[in-house]
């Protein structure tokens, strides 16, 4: 089974995580919302699958390129 990392695309902080480990998700689903540049920016599923792991917590600062979650395709 292929694993896909959900990679942070912009520096900011994690505002809301909208899924939990084990959830089934579809490509383009919103997984979390970051706050950056005074905007609420969605984290979008790059592929369909099951959320294997969530690597960040709400309120945490995140950087561009950081792994946020792992999806089992």
């Amino acid at each position: 089974m292929a694993q896909t990392k959900v990679i942070c695309e912009i520096n900011g902080s994690v505002w809301k995580i909208q899924i939990k480990e084990g959830d089934a998700v579809s490509e383009d689903d919103t997984l979390a919302i970051l706050e950056s540049m005074k905007m609420e920016i969605p984290v979008i599923a790059p592929s369909s699958g099951t959320i294997e792991k969530i690597l960040v917590a709400e309120g945490e600062s995140v950087a561009e390129g950081q792994d946020l979650m792992v999806i089992n395709e």
Binding site: I10, K38, I41, I44, E64
Partner: protein
């Protein structure tokens, strides 16, 4: 020779050529679910429109003459939706469609006719690269690659490439010179195969990782569209061609306006958030402005904070460059810069007017961008924009900050600047400005900081821009479609025939 013998020989030679690499290899492909080179022509072209050039060509080497029907690359002319096209279809079953002396001559002829006669050139790619031993030694140097303008791209007519298998050598090079590239999942494109690369750098490299669809659609940006099957790839080429003229000296074809295209303005207000901190997917707004279901997005997985789409407005082709706040809040990163510049070049070269839809907090600043030459990319974009001669209209929907204001068509970089009442013209986000410009620390002096931020937000509303006649008008978002139709009509009229000057025609395809 009696006539009947002569005709029998022609028939026999013809059948031999049409059999390609033989029934076994063809059956294997079929079992894998892929079309062969001739089936691809059938799927691409209007029925009975094909006329072949070079059916009886073979390798010039006597020892493989009988094994090289068509010399592995099938060339000729046909029609797509009634319009003439020139096509090269690689026959992978014949020596891996490797590049040879004779099939190089075929490519050259088909390319030259496409350019001279003004018709799109379509390359159906799947090839292994240079043929051995043809390419070996001094003789190989001296007889292959004898065309100094083989890789000159001057956009007299549109070029489209499909990557439909292992693509190395000519399929890769022509893919990278093409205006539109579609890739079938499972195909690969790279300078050399995973096997060759692994041997050369002594590191195990997987071909999919090296040049698979994800790599090209998301990282290299060399591929415009990704599909699942050969048939879908050929359909994507036809769709792309429907927005393009046959050559640079005519306007793109016009179509009937689909029913239901009008009167959808109210829905724009439902998508556009009423607070500036909320984002939205700009593609949903574009879809409501252009003719119904007419939007064809290029590079949707690459540089996503800018969305580049061909579309039709009142039946006529336009190119839309829109910031997408859904990704990176609409901040323009290096990939998005490269994508925008390449799209401007494509549209200007083929007489397709440009629409900028603006909602960006500016260029994404940071270490990564600077390392990847962001300032150079921003200036490439401006340089391209200054050379554009097709009509350009810029619509400021929300944020238009900093230098990006100019790159997105502000400051006389368009023929017309429109704004919605929601437009916000800052130099940078007011809170960043408050610290940078005044040196006030938010934590030490929150009151002063708040006042500074408020001061900096002053005069960023659209009305100042309209009073100074920098925005030519401010419109109700619901009237966007009708306003754009009228304004494009007005600005198109400067070229009676809808043909521009193509000053970007020799600019590269990749940045």
């Amino acid at each position: 020779m009696p006539h009947d013998e002569m005709i029998a020989e022609l028939k026999q030679r013809r059948e031999r050529a049409l059999a390609m690499g033989g029934p076994e290899k063809l059956a294997k492909r079929k079992a894998e679910g892929h079309l062969n080179a001739r089936e691809r022509l059938d799927a691409l072209l209007d029925k009975d429109s094909w006329i072949e050039s070079g059916l009886f060509a073979t390798s010039h080497r006597p020892e493989v003459r009988d094994k090289t029907p068509g010399d592995g690359k099938i060339g000729g002319f046909g029609k797509v939706d009634g319009r003439p096209v020139a096509v090269m279809s690689n026959d992978f079953t014949t020596m891996g469609a490797s590049s040879s002396v004779v099939n190089g001559k075929k490519i050259r002829h088909i390319r030259e006719v496409a350019t001279r006669s003004g018709m799109p050139l379509i390359m159906l790619g799947e090839s292994t690269g240079a043929r051995m031993p043809d390419r070996m030694g001094a003789e190989g140097r001296a007889i292959l690659g004898q065309d100094p303008i083989e890789y000159l791209r001057s956009r007299e007519s549109p070029w489209a490439s499909a990557l439909l298998g292992s693509c190395y050598g000519s399929s890769t090079w022509y893919g990278c010179l093409s205006d539109f590239v579609v890739m079938r999942k499972g195909a690969t494109m790279a300078v050399a195969s995973g096997r060759v690369t692994s041997a050369a750098i002594r590191q195990e490299i997987d071909s999919e990782e090296l040049g698979g669809w994800k790599m090209h659609a998301e990282h290299s940006g060399l591929v415009d569209a990704v599909v699942d099957t050969d048939e879908e790839a050929l359909l994507a080429i036809k769709t792309w061609l429907s927005y393009l003229p046959s050559h640079q000296n005519e306007a793109p074809p016009a179509y009937d306006v689909p029913e239901g295209s009008q009167g959808r303005g109210q829905q724009i207000l439902e998508i556009l958030p009423d607070t500036p901190n909320k984002v939205y997917d700009v593609r949903k707004i574009i879809d409501l402005v252009v003719d119904k279901d007419s939007r064809f997005e290029l590079k949707p997985r690459y540089g996503k904070s800018i969305c580049t789409s061909l579309a039709r407005l009142d039946g006529k082709s336009i190119g839309v460059i829109a910031n997408n706040p859904m990704f990176k809040g609409g901040a323009i990163d290096v990939d998005a810069m490269k994508k925008a510049t390449a799209f401007i070049i494509q549209c200007d070269s083929f007489n397709i007017p440009l629409l900028f839809m603006v909602d960006t907090p500016g260029f994404l600043i940071g270490l990564e961008g600077e390392r990847r030459a962001a300032p150079g990319k921003i200036m490439n974009w401006m340089n391209a924009l200054s050379l554009v001669t097709v009509p350009k209209i810029s619509l400021i929907m929300r944020k238009s900050y900093g230098q990006a204001y100019l790159n997105m068509g502000g400051g006389r970089n368009s023929d017309e600047v429109l704004a919605w009442p929601t437009a916000d013209l800052g130099f940078m986000a007011a809170n960043v400005g408050a610290s940078v410009l005044t040196g006030v620390d938010k934590d030490k002096d929150p009151e002063k900081y708040a006042k500074m931020a408020k001061d900096l937000s002053r005069d960023t509303a659209v009305w100042g821009l309209a009073q100074l006649y920098e925005a030519h008008t401010v419109i109700d978002p619901r009237d966007t479609r009708e306003t754009l139709i009228r304004l494009f009509e007005i600005h198109r009229s400067r070229h009676g025939s809808g043909v521009g000057k193509h000053r970007l025609a020799v600019w590269p395809t990749t940045y």
